[in-house]
């Protein structure tokens, strides 16, 4: 099973590809993706991503980033518009969970 950290790195990598030349299509989309990359780099290698609980939310973000990249590659901008909202929401979940509020390890 891929670790949460590996999944986060894959997500960052997909987002970087998505971001390339995206501004020419839509500046707002490009800015959102860049923000995700920036925030994910900030939380990369933190304790959460060494733990198993990081897997489900990070995997969701990783898969959605891959789907978004496919939409960009195929030029399916109608799908892209829907899927970028989904990715933003998932990215916010990852960032929130990375704080591990209330975590008890026994």
């Amino acid at each position: 099973m891929q670790s949460g950290q590996e999944m986060l790195e894959d997500t960052i990598s997909s987002c970087r590809e998505i971001s390339q030349d995206l501004a020419s299509q839509n500046e707002s989309w490009a800015k959102s993706i860049d923000e995700i990359v920036e925030k994910f780099e900030e939380i990369s290698n933190t304790f959460f991503f060494q733990t198993m609980p990081s897997v489900p939310p990070t995997r969701t973000a990783m898969r959605e980033a891959a789907t978004l990249l496919e939409a960009k590659t195929s030029g399916d901008w109608a799908s892209f518009e829907t899927q970028i909202s989904t990715l933003i929401s998932s990215a916010q979940t990852v960032i929130e969970k990375a704080g591990m509020k209330g975590t008890t390890l026994t």
């Binding site: 933190t46 060494q50 733990t51 198993m52 008890t104 390890l105 026994t106």
Partner: protein, 495 residues
């Protein structure tokens, strides 16, 4: 008949009994685990009835002699946990032990201060938490005690030269003093142990507080947090930028974290006892790298410490019951309980802690994970998946068989087992014990004297009700069909 009305002449069992002599005879190549599934459709297949059936089938009844003080070790559940075993099981077992002539007590031990806000870290705490969770002498019919004293140093030290890591164990004194011990375990997951089974119930749960520091690798030169953890004071942003900075100091009951006059975070790691209290505070803030190897070492040490308990009580005087129900991903020491990861697996009994845990792990692997549970979230819900490693462990590298394999290596028990399915016993044995007569014998005269049905009203029908109503109307699923049939309401037969 016995005091509680159980018939001592038990029906002939359909399975052969595994005697203690076989266990102690040295042939540990294959142990026997007695099992009943979790389905229930009658008195004799009630889970509490099944627990007694496998208890007797495994020969655990033969461990109890008249006047024996018998410890029943349970996990009474952390404050707000809701997956721990219902007190019904401990009560039923205590009644059975009394029937055998023993004097049972039910117990748990003080915990390590593994959370800054733990609810079982002292005897007073544990008794109050246990009572809230339904464990008290009133409900159990026998004492509920904290087995290691008010703060937790009351223990009996036993040497374990066979140990894989540990060479001594600090067994809670009340447990070490018992003539026999039954580990009544809720089998579930555990973030550090990966599984929380029989081995952990005794390997952690039957250790005194200092015994827990021993098992948790406190002060260990290779695996302790002081040695293996990497402290990152550079990530502390100062009091002004850390609104809840006080918890950084307050999470450690040994007073090892300090923010000095230069507004720097300091840690006296050499004195770390591995109480675990700082893990959830320091780890997520990037102030400490929690070492996965410590978790692996603890998992191995759990089996050592379990062996220590068997040696303290007496080998052959410890029996195990695993209730694999409400198989939550986290232990009952968490102050919450998530959706179970697999359906109820069943009821197990054995004289072998290693075999019984292996049998439960195997059953979990054979089962489909529950939809919506952590097993599915981790995509480890398929038949054959190692569900505890995915859904319960903290780190990727942890194994759900570390404690089991260690127990096998050191001669505590065997991971090779024969699973023996038990047949239900007669329902007569498990009926309400205080009066086993059928209803007419019990209530006929009482009902004549205190008639509960008003035969004298409404032409003998007793109550004011409509004679006929349209029941189909209220059975109808209106979301399936918007058409509503209006039916004229019938009138009452009598007003």
């Amino acid at each position: 008949m016995t005091q509680l009305g159980w018939n001592a002449n038990l029906p002939v069992r359909t399975i052969s009994k595994f005697t203690l002599i076989e266990v102690l005879g040295g042939n540990m190549s294959e142990s026997k685990v007695y099992y009943m599934d979790a389905h229930s459709e009658s008195t004799e297949t009630a889970l509490s009835s099944k627990m007694i059936t496998v208890f007797d089938a495994a020969g655990l009844d033969e461990m109890i002699k008249p006047n024996d003080i018998v410890a029943i070790k349970v996990h009474c559940g952390e404050w707000n946990n809701s997956a721990y075993l219902r007190p019904l099981y401990a009560r039923t077992l205590a009644d059975r032990i009394k029937e055998l002539g023993g004097r049972p007590f039910v117990c748990d031990t003080t915990t390590s201060t593994y959370s800054p806000w733990g609810s079982r870290s002292s005897e007073i705490d544990i008794l109050q938490t246990a009572e809230r969770n339904g464990y008290s002498s009133a409900t159990l019919g026998c004492p509920f005690i904290c087995a290691d004293g008010i703060i937790g140093p009351s223990d009996f030290v036993v040497d374990i030269p066979e140990g894989y890591i540990l060479k001594e164990a600090y067994v809670a004194q009340a447990i070490a003093a018992a003539a026999a011990l039954i580990a009544l375990t809720h089998f579930k997951g555990h973030s550090m142990g990966v599984i929380g089974g029989a081995l952990k119930n005794l390997g952690i749960g039957a250790q005194s507080k200092r015994g827990k520091f021993n098992v948790h690798m406190g002060g260990h030169p290779s695996y302790g947090l002081g040695a293996a953890g990497v402290f990152h004071p550079e990530n502390f942003k100062g009091k002004a930028n850390t609104p809840d900075w006080e918890i950084l100091e307050d999470c450690c009951p040994f007073n090892l974290y300090h923010i000095n006059e230069k507004d720097e975070l300091e840690w006296d790691g050499d004195k770390c006892a591995n109480c675990l209290g700082c893990f959830g505070v320091m780890g997520p803030r990037g102030l400490m790298d929690i070492p996965p190897i410590q978790f692996d070492a603890v998992d191995a040490a759990i089996a050592d410490a379990c062996l220590g308990v068997e040696k303290a009580v007496g080998r052959g005087k410890v029996g195990y019951i695993n209730m694999a129900l409400d198989v939550s991903p986290a232990c009952d020491c968490a102050g919450h309980a998530d959706v179970p990861i697999v359906p109820h697996l069943g009821v197990f009994a054995s004289t072998d802690a290693v075999a019984i845990d292996m049998a439960c792990v195997d059953k979990a692997r054979e089962a489909e994970g529950i939809k919506g549970s952590k097993a599915e979230l981790m995509e480890a819900h398929h038949v054959g998946d190692k569900k505890f490693e995915a859904a319960a462990a903290t780190f990727h590298s942890q194994s759900e068989v570390t404690s089991i394999n260690t127990g096998h290596e050191i001669g505590l028990g065997s991971r090779n087992y024969e699973l023996i399915e038990c047949e239900p016993e007669s329902p007569e044995r498990f009926r309400f014990p205080y009066d086993k007569r059928p209803s007419r014998q019990r209530f006929g005269a009482k009902f004549e004297k205190f008639q509960p049905f008003p035969y004298d009203k409404f032409d003998g029908k007793g109550f004011n009700r409509l004679d006929v109503v349209d029941l189909d109307k209220v059975k109808h699923h209106y979301e399936d069909d918007s058409e509503v049939v209006n039916v004229e309401q019938p009138t009452s037969s009598e007003n």
